[in-house]
């Protein structure tokens, strides 16, 4: 958090230097005071610099905080020194103008102690609270919340009155309440502060309230004021309750995210296994081919259209569908069609295909991981005040998975291929008698399932290592999803994937990642005993021979 604070302030330095500098002469004097030997003098100088309210002092104070502010031995001038190779570049702390280049022994670093550091931070906070940029003010308000320097209370109160931006206003209100609660003061004000804080919630607020609500080893409250203590305890309970909820939501999100990955990996399988009854052990390798297609597309973009890199996935998706789909059709025509009605043999033959595909990719690309990048729009995250972090790539994958399954449902329901597929599944001889080329439909169905595996590979390449073993990592989980959800039912696959993902993630904090996974596997093994045909099994009446 602080790192980000520093960075944004440093970035703002350029902008701030354009501000009019009131009484530049006095500022220079105060700045010189920073070079003074005694900490007391330096603290006074920092306070005066802060009181000036001038934006120009921000980079200077920041430099002091970062240990870049130096005193030039020759003339005692306070300068910012940046190392560049073996020389130091000296610049003016207020204007940023380059003064000279020198050697490291020509300057003396201005040291700060902890008290000074706290003061600088608070001062920086006060200064940026008045910044014209709302983003800066927001950052500053958050900094004040953390620093809890009561000296800033009047400033904060002033700026709060004038603040128009709702988000900034909220952050300032929260910071003000924190200041008031954390420092001695009127009972009613502090109680109100505790209540206000509780409405915000979050880890930080929880820590703050917990401090006030804490008790001594003998059970008496550490806080002297009983009313404040009571308000803090009540607030803490509220915040913790909400945090638990948020934690649950966070786990749920993780679960959804894992579920969507499982869904993508399994939905192609749901077609080949569910609709055609073909156990395709090479399904994972078709996913892997999709991931490698993404890699190749990205290489192409990197080398030829680096500016359009953000669009690489838009090309990778259809291409991966084609590549894996064609491999799938070739597999079906070349091997699988000779094995219909012999599921165990199909399983073995496709396992053979999977070994060959792995080795093929290993021979072509090597056994190591390939670099696949996230486009810019997929990096970053949504963060809520309560501390919930939802990363964009995960969100994108959830949406993508849902889109894929929706598209698939449309294909199955509303296209001629979908109709023929269902016809062939339900009654092959009758479909054939009606002039449907069943062999052709088989090949296309298998191609569709395989193509979707390729598309899944594009998505997985965004969150996982792209290596020849990529497919192996998902094949067992995908089978579990299909078996759990029930064969031949997209709804079952959807529900199976998400429930397995969520259960996995809910178990993780309790049992640990590996044990959680083992428990899920054991759970499915037991579940299959109860419902051997999965969640959404159709009960038939025909006697199988």
């Amino acid at each position: 958090m602080f790192r980000r604070f520093h960075r944004s302030i440093a970035a703002l330095g350029v902008l701030l230097t354009l501000w009019p500098i009131p009484g530049a002469a006095t500022l220079q004097e105060d700045l010189a005071g920073l070079g003074n030997g005694s900490f007391a003098t330096r603290m006074a100088a920092v306070t005066r610099l802060g009181a000036s309210g001038a934006g120009a002092v921000v980079p200077a104070l920041q430099a002091l905080l970062d240990g870049r502010l130096h005193r030039r031995l020759a003339d005692d001038r306070v300068v910012v020194a940046e190392e560049r190779g073996s020389v130091l570049i000296l610049t003016d702390p207020l204007t940023g103008a380059e003064l000279a280049q020198t050697t490291p022994d020509a300057v003396d670093k201005i040291r700060i102690n902890n008290r000074l550091r706290t003061l600088i931070r608070a001062t920086l906070g006060g200064l940026t609270l008045r910044s014209p940029d709302p983003a800066q003010r927001l950052v500053a308000a958050q900094a004040v919340f953390k620093g809890r320097d009561f000296d800033l209370e009047p400033t904060l109160r002033q700026v709060l009155e004038r603040e128009a931006e709702p988000a900034v206003k909220a952050a300032m209100t929260k910071a003000l309440a924190a200041l008031r609660l954390a420092n001695p003061g009127e009972s009613a004000v502090r109680v109100a502060a505790a209540t206000t804080l509780a409405t915000f919630g979050g880890q930080e607020v929880r820590a703050l309230l917990a401090e006030v609500a804490a008790t001594n080893p003998d059970g008496t409250p550490r806080e002297a004021d009983p009313e404040v203590h009571r308000a803090a305890v009540a607030g803490l309970a509220l915040v913790e309750e909400r945090l638990r909820l948020m934690n649950g939501v966070g786990n749920l999100f993780q679960g959804l995210s894992l579920g969507s990955v499982l869904l993508l990996a399994a939905v192609g399988l749901a077609i080949t296994f569910g609709v055609m009854g073909v156990i395709n052990m090479a399904h994972g390798e078709l996913v892997m081919l999709g991931a490698y297609t993404t890699f190749l597309v990205q290489e192409l973009f990197r080398n030829h259209f680096p500016d359009a890199f953000g669009w690489s996935l838009a090309l990778a998706v259809p291409l991966a569908f084609l590549v894996s789909g064609l491999f799938g059709v070739a597999m079906e025509r070349g091997v699988i069609r000779f094995l219909y009605g012999r599921p165990l043999e199909t399983l073995l033959a496709t396992w053979g295909l999977s070994l060959m595909l792995q080795q093929l990719v290993r021979s072509l690309f090597g056994p190591t991981n390939q670099e696949v990048g996230n486009p810019a729009w997929m990096s970053g995250a949504i963060e809520t005040a309560q501390g919930l972090v939802l990363t964009w790539n995960r969100i994108a994958i959830i949406l993508f998975a849902l889109a894929v399954i929706a598209g698939l449902a449309l294909i199955l329901r509303h296209t001629p291929l979908g109709l023929q597929m269902r016809a062939v599944t339900q009654n092959r001889p009758m479909a054939a008698a009606m002039g449907i080329r069943t062999g052709w439909v088989d090949a296309l169905t298998f191609g569709l399932g395989s193509g979707i595996a390729g598309v899944a590979g594009v998505a997985l390449s965004q969150i996982d290592n792209v290596s020849p073993n990529l497919g192996q990592a998902y094949i067992i989980d995908s089978f579990m999803v299909v078996v759990f959800g029930g064969v031949g039912n997209l709804w079952g696959t959807l529900l199976g994937a998400f429930s397995l993902g969520i259960v996995n993630k809910l178990l993780e904090p309790v049992a640990g990642a590996v044990l959680g996974k083992i428990l899920v596997l054991v759970g499915i093994i037991l579940f299959i005993q109860k419902r051997p045909r999965g969640l959404f099994a159709l009960r038939g009446r025909a006697v199988e021979a």
Binding site: L538, R539, G540, R541, A542, V543, A545
Partner: protein, 253 residues
């Protein structure tokens, strides 16, 4: 119509208000009828009338939602599994001939031979002369004596049907359920099969599900008509053929 209220003492099988539904579809809807000891009974009805489901319920493949199946006046079959029911003395012949195709005709019959079905008995089993004689007898009955060492998979369709009937005879059941035994048979095979079933019915009860009216006629027995999972009519073939409702839903005008 026969109802549960006045069933005779010598019932071997009694279905009492059986209902079964699959995903909302009512395959059997309060089906009730009884079969007497030593009776040969034909069951007819249109597709989806519940004939096969009825057999599934009696043999334990399907458990009904409600209702009871009383066998030999004492056992409720609805909670038992297939093996237990088979060992109580109920044999079943599938619609599609199912024999053990990679084993010889003789071995097929030996597997069906009545006796201890336990693991150890199977592991240390030795065929005694009496049992061998019994197998020879059945081979004779189903006219497969000359084929005893052939693989069952190499038999003709009709011979497989007979082998399956032979296996049922080896089980020595009190009640035999036979599902469409003459489907796909030549006329001559059909006549032979009718003979066989009648012979078998001399010593035990047989229920035959059939579509082929000529075959039902040659069985010359009481007929039950199923429709939408319940009994529509029952009686001699002549009565049935005269029944207005049966003509309407099944036989056609």
């Amino acid at each position: 119509m026969t109802t549960a209220a006045h069933r005779p003492d010598d019932t071997i099988l009694y279905l009492d208000a059986i209902s079964v539904s699959f995903d909302g579809f009512k395959a059997l809807d309060g089906l009730s009828f009884y079969v007497r000891r030593g009776e040969l009974r034909a069951i007819i009805g249109p597709n989806g009338a519940g004939k096969t489901t009825m057999m599934d319920v009696v043999t334990g493949k399907t458990h009904p939602d409600i209702g009871q199946v009383i066998f030999a006046d004492r056992v409720d079959l609805t909670r038992l599994d297939e093996a237990r029911i088979a060992n109580l003395g109920i044999g079943r012949k599938f619609q599609k001939p199912t024999v053990f195709e990679t084993q010889t005709v003789f071995d097929n019959l030996e597997l069906a031979l009545a006796g201890d079905r336990g693991l150890w008995a199977a592991l240390f089993f030795r065929l005694d002369p009496a049992q061998r004689q019994r197998i020879d007898q059945v081979l004779e009955t189903v006219r497969l004596t000359d084929h005893r060492h052939r693989l069952a998979g190499h038999l003709s369709h009709g011979q497989k049907q007979w082998l399956e009937i032979g296996m049922l005879l080896m089980q020595n059941p009190q009640l035999l359920l036979v599902d469409e035994p003459v489907a796909g048979m030549t006329d001559e095979e059909t006549q032979r099969t009718a003979q066989m079933l009648k012979e078998i019915a001399r010593s035990r009860s047989v229920v035959v599900v059939e579509h082929d009216m000529a075959f039902v006629k040659s069985l010359d027995c009481r007929v039950t008509v199923l429709h939408e999972g319940a009994v529509l009519a029952e009686g001699s073939l002549a009565t049935i053929q005269a029944n207005e409702r049966v003509i309407e839903v099944y036989l056609g005008r």
